[in-house]
Amino acid sequence: MHIPDGFISTPIAAAGIAVAAGSVAYAVKATNKKMGEKQVPLMGVLAAFIFASQMLNFPIIGGTSGHLLGAALASIFLGPWAGVLIMTSVLIVQSLIFQDGGLLALGVNIVNMGIVPCFVGYYVYTGVAWLFHRSKVGLMLGGGLAGWLTVVASAALCAFELALSGTVPLKAALPAMTGVYALIGVGEGLITAAVVALVLAVRADLLQLQKA
């Protein structure tokens, strides 16, 4: 869902850069001196995993493909603010080195694919986990639901930005974007739940590190 330059207007792009810059600055403040020893390699692994899996597009119906977003996973493991830093790192590298996602659109992409899904994912996951008393099934269900919702929220936000930019009317963009990404989100939900299940089986302690 990396927005290339040209899809969004300059005011929307500028607003995105402002929101992204402010949030990332706050994220650094919020996470500073809070990272434990265990988090250091975990943050590296998560950033690299999200990059690698974003290269692996899987086909969905209608000649379309999707890939993992990963914001839900990042915030499930390390909390929303560290998640924002991870997603921002991935998006900056993708835009600067791999020309995936526009340079002017970078702020908007950080908002859509980093900030908003990290918070949506974190609170959906912790909410569902709490409802299920942090049972294994509850954590997996929370991960799956968080994965799906983050992708749909991200797509809806993207549709609003395209409409506000005058690129495409909202009544065309919103159903099209949420429709496609509701399907791609199923993949996100399954992968997120599977990673949570895998980590529960081999290193359950890594799921106890997240802080809001």
């Binding site: 869902m1 990396h2 927005i3 290339p4 330059d5 040209g6 899809f7 650094v28 500073n32 001196k33 809070k34 990272m35 434990g36 020893e37 250091v40 390699p41 975990l42 943050m43 590296g44 692994v45 998560l46 950033a47 690299a48 995993f49 999200i50 990059f51 690698a52 290269m55 692996l56 597009n57 899987f58 086909p59 209608g62 000649g63 379309t64 493909s65 999707g66 890939h67 991870i86 790192s89 991935v90 590298v93 080195i97 791999f98 020309q99 340079l103 797509a155 993207c158 395209l162 495409v168 065309a172 963009a173 099209a176 974007m177 496609v180 990404y181 791609i184 081999v202 290193r203 890594l206």
Partner: protein, 94 residues
């Protein structure tokens, strides 16, 4: 050096990067919507190109070019994530 969990995770990530050439080349969700709704043409080409389309330039074999770009990206992002967390680490925890 003792084998830690994340050494294993890194090996898995390299394997993931090696899988990258089998990724679907269909347009992604946003591209598809842009084609269907007729605004794909408003996209502006990047201002500069380093490794566009996740391919290492100068290689004729597309699969090899994609794998190398993927491995490079995995290393860069592991490095960034690791260093960032190290900078933000708590001082009193051992």
């Amino acid at each position: 050096m003792k084998f830690k969990w994340w050494h294993g995770a890194l090996i898995l990530l390299f394997l993931l990067a090696i899988l990258s050439p089998i990724a679907s080349s269909f347009p992604d969700g946003l591209e598809k919507v842009a084609e269907d709704k007729g605004f794909i043409g408003t996209a502006v080409a990047p201002f500069f190109r380093i490794l566009p389309d996740y391919m290492m330039p100068g290689l004729t074999n597309r699969a090899a070019a994609t794998i190398l770009a993927g491995l490079l990206g995995v290393l860069i992002l592991f490095g960034i994530g690791y260093s960032l967390a190290k900078l933000l680490r708590t001082k009193n925890e051992t």
